[in-house]
Each structure stands twice: as C-alpha cells, then as structure tokens.
C-alpha cells in the first residue's frame, strides 16, 4: 500500500438525497466511489489524487435494470455480472454482454460497475464502445434536478466529462431499437482474459433491401484520448454497398479519424492497422 490512508476519507451517505446534498454543498470536495475496481488500484499505487469519496454502492436508486417498451434503463451501479445475467440485454444488446464478459475476471465483473466504467473515463474501457454503438444516453442527477445527455457527447477530452462536480451518474439508457442491427465486437489485448485493451472495436450496421448500408455505427476504444464514435467513417459508409472499394475507402478514412499513440502496451501503427483490419472484417460480414 503506497498511499497514506489517513489522508483519505470515504463516507457512506444514508440516502441519495444526502449524497447529492453533500456534493452540492462542498463543490468539488467529494467524489463518488462505486465498486472501487479502478480507484482502489490507484490508491494502492499511491496515485489517487482526489482524497474525499462518497460510497454510493448501497444506494438503491442507482441499482437495478428496468425494461420499458422504448428503452432499457441500467442503474449506474449495474455490474458486469448483472449485465451478463439479464435476458433482455442478452437478446437485444449483445455487444454490451460481450464487453462485460471480457472485462477483467469474474471477481472484477462482480464488483465493477457500468457507471464507474463510464465516469472513470479511461479511453481503454471496454463497455463504452458498445454503449456508443447503441446510442446510449446518460441520466445525471443533482440536488437541482435531473438531466439527460447523449453518451457520445459525454467525453469531452482526456478524462474530461460533460458532468458537473455536484452531479452523479444515475442511469444509462439504451433505446430498444437494435432489432436488425448486425453487430461486431472485438477486444484486442494480447491475452484472452484480464487484458487492458490495445484496441476495443464495437460496431453495428443495417443493410437496406438494395444491399446499401442504411445505418453504420463504429465505437472504438484505445485509439484516441477518449472512446470514439467514428462519425466520419460512418458517414462515408451510409448509402454505400460494402464492396471491396467501399471497404478500402472506409479503412483509409478510419485510419485518419483515429489518433492512437505509442505506449507501453502497443504502438500507434499497430492500433491503426488492426482497427482498419477489424473494420474490413466487420464490413465483409455485413455484406454476407
């Protein structure tokens, strides 16, 4: 343990209202602490910069999965295990299930939360690319009210969020409009389990009767300062038949759209090339 524990505080407000009050009163002092699977790692390494945390894990308003006719609402505390056990999600949101299954080991999946994965804002996180493909929206609550933001507008820069210090992420909302979406998910991380992504690739597309793409959605992780919805490449694909020429153009566009870096896990070259390969593989599958 490289942290000096007495420097830190963790409190468990009794109710959501108490938590929101604290967040509103001492602006920027408190931060939410959910499953701890990211924050405790930083604490152990002596790298947890923020000092005061509110444990929200016990708050019932932030839990549970509600299925409504038009959308499914996942409480921010929904764990990766919860995601894998829900039948509606399994049927309608396979990318999310695939991502949850490949996040950490079982013990991490039991503890880590979807909300935490989003707010932690790692560009290498595994579930956000899937959420981007499903056009997720986020519900943020504060003492002054509730607001909804499109997930694709949530990450504004490296570890920068469209969220105020007095707000909590309460729910993640997924429109139930995935019926005929052809999906594709691939996490690339050298080993099969317990890996940090070198590239996380989630995609969905719809094909019209004429074989043209009517809807293309590409969510990528580890290729930019934030998880990225690749809208320019999507635009290029719309109303096109996914033939060899289109695939080539799309791959070239994707390579321009992403901005990967060299780091201790991989190289920019590798990330660019593999992203393009995966896009090409996806489009070939869509065509069939």
């Amino acid at each position: 343990m490289r942290a000096y524990l007495p420097d830190y505080d963790l409190r468990a407000p009794k109710t959501l209202a108490d938590a929101l009050d604290l967040l509103a009163r001492d602006a920027g002092v408190w931060r939410a602490f959910a499953g701890g699977t990211d924050l405790m790692v930083l604490l152990e390494l002596g790298a947890l910069a923020h000092k005061n945390f509110l444990s929200i894990r016990h708050l019932p308003e932030l839990r549970g999965i509600e299925v409504a006719p038009a959308e499914i609402a996942l409480g921010a505390l929904t764990t990766y295990t919860d995601i894998q056990r829900n039948e509606t999600i399994a049927r309608e949101f396979p990318l999310l299930v695939a991502a949850a299954r490949e996040t950490g080991g079982i013990a991490i999946q039991n503890r880590g939360t979807l909300g935490g994965n989003i707010v932690n804002a790692s560009p290498a996180a595994d579930t956000p690319p899937a959420l981007l493909v499903y056009d997720a929206e986020l519900e943020l609550v504060s003492a002054s009210g509730t607001r909804r933001v499109a997930y694709r507008e949530f990450h504004t820069g490296y570890k920068q969020l469209n969220m105020r210090p007095d707000e909590l992420l309460a729910r993640i909302l997924l429109p139930r409009a995935t019926g005929d979406l052809k999906t594709y998910y691939r996490k690339v991380g050298t080993r099969k389990a317990q890996a940090i992504s070198k590239i996380c690739f989630a995609a969905g597309a719809r094909l019209g009767h004429d074989g043209r793409i009517t809807d293309a959605r590409l969510g990528l992780g580890s290729v930019a300062p934030t998880v990225l919805r690749c809208t320019r490449t999507e635009e290029l694909l719309r109303e096109r038949v996914p033939d060899a020429a289109t695939i080539k153009e799309a791959c070239a566009m994707l390579a321009q759209e992403i901005t990967p870096i060299d780091d201790m896990r991989s190289t920019a070259d590798y990330r660019t090339r593999v992203s393009a390969n995966l896009l090409s593989d996806f489009l070939r599958q869509v065509a069939h």
Partner: protein, 163 residues
Amino acid sequence: MTDGAVKVELSCTVNGTSQTLRVHPLARLLDVLREDLRLTGTKEGCGEGECGACSVFVDGELVNSCLVPVLQVAGAQVTTIEGVAGEAELSAVQQAFIECGGAQCGICTPGMILAAVNLLAHTPQPTDADIRHGLAGNLCRCTGYMKIFAAVVRACERAGVKA
C-alpha cells in the same frame, strides 16, 4: 471541508463469526482480514485486481479483497479460505486440489480454490471453456493450470459432495 478520516467502527460477519472492527474506511478488506483479524490465508499477489490471490466471498459474490474498501463490507457476510473447509473434512474442491496436484507453491491456491468454488456454485457441470473462463481472473505461475482444471473436474465428478 475535511482533512481525511479517522477510523470508523463497523460490523460484519467473517466465516460465520460476527466481528466489530475499528478501521480506516478506505482500508483494503485484504489488509483488515490479514492484519486485524489475522486471517492470513488470503494472499496479496499484485494489489491491482489482476491475480486473484486475494479472492474472498462478500455476500456470496467472489471479489478481489485488495479492491474492496472495508467500509463497503459493513453488515456483509465475508467468507475466506479459512471458512471453506468443514469442521473436520476438506471441501471437495480442496480435496481434489491435493489429489490432482492443483497446488504447487500454494500462494495462488486459496484464491484459486475460492474461484473454483464460485464456478461450481454457478455452473455445477462446467465445460472446459467454462472452467478456463471461470478461473481466468486467478493467475498461477507454477502449474500451467492443467492440474487445476483436473482438480475442478474431479471435484464435480464427486456427485453429491458439496463443493
């Protein structure tokens, strides 16, 4: 404003015994088990949730105790490796680990056994793929896992014996 926490008092149940602890709220459950309760069967391998050596059950769920702040187990039921064996006899998984050579140096073994118990609780007849997936959060450097897989298979072959 706050200048950090003083210790807090909280209660939880560990291996069936209720415990009242005075602890820092952000102390790792791992350290509280090992240092405050002297339950040293739970091991630290990495401190970052990668190796699974510190696996325990909290309210029936497998977790990495290095990633759980103790405040979050207030009121919870915690089970460690010390709580897996019966009064006199070993659990089927423990027995199978001995017979099949599933433990070599033994440092990953307590966590690995808890992961195996968790696997069999959810998947009583696991396939090879189930076993590999179910244990993938627990790293072993000695065995190459083959004898661990064999131990899991042997444990579930013992029909009627509780995992």
